[in-house]
Symmetry: C2
């Protein structure tokens, strides 16, 4: 790990600190960081009391329909109340030396609120209305609305649709808002604001509403300074015409900006000094790039967990076919932030270990004090590339980039009676590496050279997987240094908001870090993988680009045969399980 200590920064005579708070799917983590070098001094996690409400609404016991996923905003405040003081205590620093707080959040997690920030679900008369609660990123019940948004956008030739690979997700702000309108118009009417939890939490800290450039761009279709037009919204639903004008933000704040100052109330919750800087809201995957000090154009950061999110800055605005989105200032102010993703990665490996391999196999691994991933990886690591004779398509959770088709599915070719579980496991690892190579090549073909591949997220701890990624992409891999990248990234933004550093790049160069060339590609494997990748592309295009729509037909048959079957987990944009 190397920190650039030559950068001239405005630090006080003695050490000062910042707090980063990472709001995940099931819990929030606070981290205390020293601003002069990014040292991580203390951390604490607070589990959400209500977790994810995807079967019943806690307040009423009412069952929720399939594909719903809600949260309780009081759980977010509880992270401020519990995790922040605990982290400060663990760090052993004087709270008076803490100069700022920053956050990152899952996205798009979005809620209806009053004009003063009160969540509608905290109004007594709405406490038992499901639509009054925050809809978590993985709430997928807005798919019909998303489908209509996409159809209409293409029919009208809306220019913004190309910025999202041609598809707006059911997870995003407009689809979820339209569902709210159409299923619970009363609650829709009561909503004076429709706000990302990433921004709502800042409101709680500062007492004033802001909207961050990241979620506004990637989730709120805010492009070139405006939202989709009134005409467009009216065509979706006449009652939706004024949605953007009345319930979204007037202005959007740049990442790294100061959203405001910590209120006395929030100081009471956190134990931090009132008046310190609060950074503009942000998103978990995106703050990881500065935490790894990997925000220069061409540095592609892959945050690898249950899924993988790829973020990279560019100096030019181009359209990369099949990307998730490009947003001006979406990762760092002053650059075009590009985002791509693989909707299933660790999820696929877990599927194989948890659901194909029966529980008894896991029990055996546990008795030996290892995980089933350790067992399979160790067996698969002994193989030479190509030795298992298999080739897989990594679409068990659909394909987000570059095909942008959630109705694709996985495939394995080359099975014989000699095929064994470590062979299949390794083929699945390789398939996700091929998927990453497709994304890298899509960026490069669009005129965005990828000069460095930086890995963050929990999966970098699997040496076999990392070697495969290096060999398949024929690149050395850098690793993000921090194990809590998002919280560090949030803290780094706090340091900028506090004025310790002039901007995010300056802060990243000191507080963020990566370790270079942690894995070096093997040329022999690389040559074999070049051959396998050529075949991966053949199958990718055959099954993915319309030559044979068998995957769509199989899914349609399945859905007709078992309407009540639990929905398949839908792809997501960010990896949050590291």
């Amino acid at each position: 790990m190397s920190h650039n200590t030559d950068v001239s920064v405005n630090i006080r005579d003695s050490d000062c600190f910042v707090v980063g708070v990472d709001f995940g799917t099931l819990s929030g983590r606070a981290l205390v960081v020293r601003v002069r070098d990014g040292a991580e001094l203390g951390t604490a996690v607070h589990e959400y009391r209500h977790g994810v409400m995807d079967t019943v609404l806690a307040s009423s016991g009412e069952p929720l329909p399939a594909d719903w996923a809600l949260q309780d905003p009081e759980d977010y405040r509880d992270v401020l109340r519990h995790a922040v003081p605990a982290a400060v205590a663990a760090a052993g620093v004087d709270p008076e030396r803490i100069v700022g707080i920053g956050t990152d959040f899952t996205a798009c997690t979005v809620l209806p609120a009053l004009a003063d920030g009160t969540p509608l679900c905290q109004l007594p008369e709405l406490v038992s209305r499901p639509h009054a609660y925050p809809k978590l990123w993985k709430h997928h019940a807005s798919q019909p609305q998303a489908d209509r948004i996409n159809e209409l956008a293409h029919a009208r030739g809306e220019p913004w649709i190309a910025r999202y690979g041609g598809k707006i997700s059911a997870e995003w702000e407009f689809a979820k808002a339209l569902q709210l309108l159409e299923e619970d118009p009363d609650t829709y009417r009561r909503a004076e604001r429709w706000i990302e939890a990433a921004d709502w939490i800042i409101w709680q800290l500062t007492g004033r509403e802001t909207r961050n450039a990241c979620t506004a761009g990637y989730k709120g279709i805010f492009q070139g300074g405006r939202y989709p037009s009134r005409d467009f919204l009216r065509a979706l639903n006449p009652a939706f015409a004024e949605f953007a004008a009345t319930k979204l933000a007037r202005s959007v704040s740049p990442l790294g900006g100061r959203a405001g100052s910590l209120t006395a109330q929030a100081a009471g919750w956190t134990g931090l000094p009132a008046g310190i800087a609060v950074a503009v809201g942000n998103v978990d995957a995106h703050v990881t790039a500065p935490a790894a000090n990997a925000i220069a154009p061409g540095q592609l950061v892959a945050i690898m967990g249950t899924s993988t999110c790829h973020v990279m800055n560019g100096t030019v605005l181009v359209e990369v076919p099949g990307m998730c989105g490009v947003v001006d200032g979406g990762i760092v102010a002053g650059a075009y932030g590009y985002e791509a993703g693989q909707s299933g990665v660790g999820d696929i490996f877990n599927w194989f270990t948890d659901h194909v391999m029966p529980p008894c196999y896991q029990d055996e691994a546990r008795r030996r004090g290892v995980t089933i991933h350790d067992v399979l990886s160790a067996e698969a690591a002994g193989q030479q590339a190509g030795a298992h004779g298999l080739l897989a398509l990594d679409w068990l959770s659909g394909n987000r980039s570059v095909l942008v088709d959630h109705h694709l599915s996985g495939a394995i070719v080359g099975l014989t009676l000699a095929t064994r579980p470590p062979d299949i496991y390794r083929a699945l690892l390789e398939a996700t590496a091929f998927g990453t190579r497709v994304i890298i090549e899509a960026f490069e073909s669009a005129g965005l050279p990828v000069t460095e591949l930086v890995i963050a997220g929990g999966l970098l701890r699997n040496p076999l997987l990392m070697q495969i990624y290096a060999d398949v992409t024929r690149r050395s891999l850098s690793f993000a240094s921090s194990k809590q990248g998002p919280a560090l990234g949030a803290a780094l933004h706090a340091a900028v908001a506090a004025g310790v550093y002039p901007d995010v790049p300056a802060a990243a160069s000191v507080m963020g870090s990566k370790r270079d060339a942690m894995v070096v590609p093997d040329a022999v494997s690389g040559n074999i993988y070049d051959q396998l990748y050529a075949d991966y592309l053949l199958l990718h295009d055959y099954f993915g680009r319309g030559a044979n729509q068998v995957m769509h037909r199989l899914r349609a048959l399945r859905d007709r045969a078992q309407p009540d079957r639990a929905p398949v987990p839908q792809p997501r944009e960010e990896a949050r399980a590291w």
Copy 2:
């Protein structure tokens, strides 16, 4: 079960009996049958002492190369010595009332012998020479020779190659003999006969050499009254020119014929009366058709075990693309016997249960007193067709019909994070049913209507599998009545040889039987399977007919990466594991 008792047959006043002996891969089974109605009265099994020698030669401890599989002919004689008397004792019949003995054998299992029938491996000076032993059907080390035979046959435009779907198997007589010549010319020179074990055992019973029409045709390239020409054999290897003329048969005997009379020596082994009729040799799969009384043109008998063999008689000689072989009198004298096959069926299901599902899963099933097949079948049986969203190609052991390509491999398409083991298991069952439908349609397209589908073999005991076959083929399934079809078929031939019946059809109509319409197709499932079958065909042709040779490339990569890996089990022509 219905026996046609109106047929006028020449039975003695009181009951008489025949013995059928089925020589399998690991053991031989004797069965005592009443000639007037085919009643099975007693049976006994004798395990071969040497089993399959595929790692070391028992006599010397010498390691055997990969792909070898030898047997010891004394084990075959031991079946006569032990299983036959035990079956007679179990039946409780007077041996004096036994009027004939018939046999069936695995094929092509072939050995070198002296002109008096002495196996070369029983000569003291050759007892430690591997090439002096019988080569079991699944000896696959002759593949290089088979490749040369096929290449030359096509280059010379040999007319007989079309009778075998364009390909002679490494398992068959000529490939194995050429390997013997080229690897152990001394032993080749000592071999005065090159004889199927199916015929050698008859020689032991009668004291005279005969060759049966079935193995001569399907395994010995005996077509239109002749073997491949001297010129052809010379072009393969000059020293091979006289092979057929000197080491094979002068004449070929029809199935159901009397090979001779039981010698005093064989009477001593078996406890049967000397002088009784001994039927011409035969093959396990082929005798099953008369045992099921399913030998009329259009009755397709599928013998389903680890693999599936399909046999059907026709009145005309046509070339069915990709069949295993067509032989005049190959199943029943006077008809053209057609054979097709699926090289992996039960083997594929066992691969999944035994090698993908770990042993602990099987232990759990065992504790519950069931098999893992029971568990998975029960779970999969609750699904509607199409509900799992999967489609598989059943080529994990290659494809024998109609693509005739052992270097193909299996594939599964449609995997999602919601896919569970019973889904995959059911998709594998369905894939083999689709493979059977391809074969049925190949016969019908060639002008051989399939009027009835008759199932024999152990897999008919899986109700889920049978329902899937009925639904996929949209046909009612008949089941062979006997659980020991081959031994019954062998016994039935003995009754013909003894003159109790005038010919095999007459005997089959009395002694053989099937139960009709045991499973009836479901129209709703059938409609769904029609859609899935259309997609199966798309993938079948895409991967199997050259559009995408990825399976060949994957196998080549695999073979280069792991030259020492244990060979994948090769496809076989007959199913013997019921």
